[in-house]
Amino acid sequence: MPKIIVEVMPKADLLDPQGKAVGNSLKRAGHSVATVRIGKRIELHYDHTPTEADLEAAKQAAADFLSNGVIEDVVNVTVEA
């Protein structure tokens, strides 16, 4: 199914408690990882190949609703055919 992928990450300079907890757990398990941050991947599915207008609408939704600009950044909005 054609889709538009929206990726959202917590802002780099803000605490990500979820990422911190997972990072600590990985370190306990012996991983050499320094820090972990957890974001979201949101898939918008279409029954047609997404048009430019669909992509624009998705970008708008990503900025207005799918992310909160105070705490998150939209890092990617792409069409995946």
Binding site: L15, P17, K20, F65, N68, V70, I71
Partner: protein
């Protein structure tokens, strides 16, 4: 005076909020998330809970609900609105208050009687308090860490918009110990702790006088009723 209490799917504390309204002497009116009609209420409470299962972000989906579109419009015209806990999250997601609320710094859900300092009494919901007064009401949340960028924090401090600060301990890592905010006009107030759980002797926080006798939350509701009478 009629005070509307909104129920979204996943709201928990609507009954307690309605009860608090009645104990304070008001008439509580149930408002439904899918209904854009506010049924002539004079003020609105957005109660606590987990609207829409906290999906996407706490309060984000509720902010898009039909009832919120009317509340946002009327709040901008001066309708008193109080957001408690999840209701506070709905207010920030609706952009009626700035900033955001994220998972508690220490990652634990917290449930305790919390001391707060009343930092502003020029609002529809806090006029019955005295400036600097310390009050105790329950706090129960997993995502109560208040954050905002430095510019917003500076504005909140400079324009006196911080309405409540945590006292003694900062339970969730909130910036500047922020527990609650108001808008510039003072009709919209949001806070993480729960005033509606401290309105009736026997069911509130412990005080030095007696167990569970704390009723500091009642003044939120008597404040708004008074401000409506005076308006």
């Amino acid at each position: 005076m009629k005070i509307g209490v909104v129920t979204f799917p996943g709201t928990l504390d609507d009954r307690d909020a309605a009860r608090a309204v009645r104990i304070a002497g008001g008439e509580a009116v149930s408002l439904w998330h899918a209904d854009t009609n506010l049924h002539d209420v004079d003020a609105v409470v957005l109660p606590g809970g987990f609207s829409y299962g906290d999906y996407l972000r706490c309060g984000a989906i509720a902010a898009q609900a039909p009832v919120m579109q009317t509340i946002i419009e009327k709040a901008n015209e001066g309708l008193p609105v109080l957001g408690i806990c999840n209701g506070f999250q709905v207010l920030v997601e609706s952009h009626l208050l700035p900033g955001g609320l994220i998972r508690n710094e220490h990652q634990h859900f917290i449930c305790r009687d919390q001391k707060l300092i009343v930092e502003n009494v020029d609002t529809a919901w806090t006029s019955e308090f005295t400036l600097g007064q310390e009050i105790t009401i329950p706090l129960k949340n997993g995502e109560g860490g208040y954050i905002a960028d430095q510019e917003t924090l500076k504005r909140l401090e400079g324009e006196n918009l911080i309405t409540f600060r945590y006292s003694e301990v900062n339970p969730n890592g909130s910036m500047n110990n922020i527990a609650g905010l108001r808008n510039a006009r003072g009709n919209v107030v949001g806070l993480m702790p729960h005033p509606e759980h401290a309105v009736e002797p026997g069911f509130g926080p412990d005080t030095s006088v007696a167990m569970r006798s704390g009723v500091d939350g009642l003044k939120f509701f008597t404040s708004v009723l008074k401000s409506l009478v005076e308006a």
